[in-house]
């Protein structure tokens, strides 16, 4: 039942993108997401598309994975397109019932949807090619400079790691308790809302009890190994930048430079609104 849900979307591999340092990927994704909003004309969008396509190609992920990333967001894409299509005033292209399609609306709708698509693809590239543990390592390292302002970098990363680690365990536990209570005649699927909520009690109480028990056991185990937080702790996997990271950073810089030039130095380019 529940164990059929695979958590996280990490897709193991050894491609160029997989090998990048998580810090490069996190920062790169952030920069790309902001850079999308620099784009105003067709050439800028073209370079964004080119960059995204190159990243996807070098990650060697199956295309169906990328497509799957869209599926939950399709309604949002559709609504974005529709709102822009029908709500933007301008040169009328056609009329349908009470809906008016304008040239400006079409252009804006397509570009907005394109922005969303690029956003989804690039951020899913991050989670597809980086395992959750490596991702939290990267976040911890990136947050470290903020420690002097009181940001508990190590603790945040440790909490994320533990939470991720226990999601499959808790899913398994949930599955087991559902089965056990079903065998005792419990019904989790029928009845109206209030009744269904009350029927969840035999599932939720044991689940909470076991989550607390596990937390307690884990705390004891960590204490028994003299865990003291991040102070002077060494790690099993040291994060290291290598030539791939340099290459990725250069490519990202080039993209930002192109977008900035197109926006600020050559404003009259075709496609600018």
């Amino acid at each position: 039942m529940l164990s059929d849900i695979t958590f996280g979307q990490f897709y193991p591999g050894r491609s160029f993108v997989h090998r990048l340092d998580p810090r490069t990927k996190i920062l790169g994704t952030l920069i790309f997401v902001s850079a999308i909003f620099l784009a105003e004309n067709y050439l800028a969008y073209l370079s964004l598309i080119g960059f995204t396509a190159a990243t996807v190609a070098s990650s060697r992920l199956p295309v169906r994975l990328i497509v799957r990333a869209f599926r939950p967001l399709l309604p949002i894409l559709f609504i974005t397109l529709a709102i822009h299509l029908f709500m933007t005033p301008g040169e009328v292209l056609g009329q349908m019932w009470f809906l008016t399609v304008t040239y400006e609306g079409l252009r804006l709708g397509v570009l907005m949807s394109l922005r969303l698509i690029l956003l989804i693809v690039m951020s899913s590239m991050l989670t597809y090619t980086t395992s959750p543990i490596v991702l939290t390592d990267g976040i911890e390292r990136l947050l470290r400079p903020f420690r002097r302002f009181g940001v508990p970098a190590h603790e945040i990363a440790m909490m994320m790691t533990i939470a991720l680690r226990f999601i499959p365990t808790l899913l398994e536990e949930t599955d087991k308790i559902i089965k056990a209570q079903t065998a005792r005649g419990a019904d989790f699927t029928s009845g109206h809302l209030f009744r269904r909520a009350r029927n969840m009690v035999p599932l939720l109480v044991p689940l909470f009890v076991s989550a607390f028990r596990r937390a307690d056991e884990l705390a004891t185990a960590m204490e028994a190994r003299c865990y003291r937080g991040g102070e002077s702790r060494t790690r099993l996997r040291e994060l290291k930048f290598c030539w791939e990271d340099g290459f990725a950073a250069a490519a990202m810089l080039a993209l930002v430079a192109i977008l900035s030039i197109l926006r600020f130095a050559a404003p009259g380019f075709p496609g600018t609104a």
Binding site: S3, D4, T6, E173, K176, I177, K179, A180, Q181, T182, A183, R184, G185, A186, D187, V201, P202, V205, P206, V209, S210
Partner: protein, 291 residues
């Protein structure tokens, strides 16, 4: 009254990279009142096998029937079939949730829609089977008992539904020696009094010997042996190798008898329990004195 599995196969998460075959073509019939032990390594498919018996999982292929009814089906008949099989999961104490022991044991019977007097009768009876005093325990919180007591309450919760078969998945896991002894004595008592069928899943042969007359051996999702427990351990040669490969060791008593006979004492090697072993050794020593 019987549970019949015909050529049952089960695959976890088919069509994904995590696909795993848990059962391959398992056929098995358990008759009313039988005591069956299911033994095998971790991951041999024991738990998956018994979860088919009350429709918690549907076979990927093959057929499961309880008295001719598919327990995973819809409708009243299927529901009645499911209620004939009482399932005690691994670490059943993790499923306790009510405020009092009484309420928790009553959960199953109430879900069956029984009148309150009948529910109370069943709770009293179930608690006495697992050796918990009604006066002393019924008002206490099940979450504040000792591990062994919590497990008893959970087992009582299944017994109170008065199923015709009791399936126990590793009921003695992480209990101490005394806790094991008590649980098994109680289950045997229940079987003797009510004639309930017992299906015991375990990787420990010593536990199985105590409760079961028949043993089913699982290995990598396949059923590799099924028969009378004494007959299975008297098997020689190829059959025996097969059991060893499945990681099935004879009970400790049987191994002791084999060692004694190798050491020159002429004992019958069929003993499975400590009592039988004592008798056999006494007889053998007696014969030696006479000689």
């Amino acid at each position: 009254m019987s549970i019949v599995l015909e050529k049952v196969s089960y695959t976890y998460m088919p069509g994904t990279p995590y696909e795993r075959v848990a059962l391959r073509d398992v056929s098995l019939t358990v008759e009313r009142g039988e005591t069956v032990g299911i033994i095998g390594h971790t991951g041999s498919g024991k738990t998956t096998l018994v979860q088919h018996m009350n429709g918690l999982i549907r076979p990927t292929s093959g057929r499961v029937t309880v008295d001719g009814v598919d327990p995973a089906g819809k409708g009243e008949l299927a529901k009645a079939a499911r209620l004939k099989i009482g399932m005690v999961f691994q670490y059943p104490e993790h499923q306790l949730f009510e405020e009092t022991v009484y309420e928790d044991v009553a959960f199953g019977p109430r879900n069956m829609g029984l009148p309150e007097e009948e529910v109370e009768r069943r709770v009293r009876r179930a608690l006495s089977f697992v050796g918990l005093d009604f006066q002393q325990f019924s008002r206490r919180s099940p979450l504040r008992l000792s591990g062994g007591q919590m497990r008893r309450v959970a087992i009582a919760g299944v017994i109170a539904m008065e199923p015709e078969f009791l399936v126990l998945d590793e009921p003695s896991a992480s209990l101490d020696w005394r806790g094991r002894e008590e649980i098994f004595r109680e289950i045997l008592g229940l079987h003797a009094t009510t004639g309930i069928g017992i299906i015991l899943v375990s990787h420990n042969m010593d536990d199985i010997v105590r409760l079961a007359k028949r043993v089913v051996v699982m290995h990598q999702g396949s059923l590799i042996a099924d028969g009378d427990i004494r007959e299975i351990f008297s098997r020689q040669g190829k059959q025996n190798e097969l059991l060893e490969r499945a990681g099935v060791e004879p009970p400790r008593v049987t191994r002791l008898m084999a060692a004694l006979s190798r050491a020159g004492l002429e004992v019958e090697k069929t003993a499975l329990t400590i009592d039988e072993a004592v008798e056999a050794i006494v007889r053998a020593v007696g014969r030696r004195r006479l000689a």
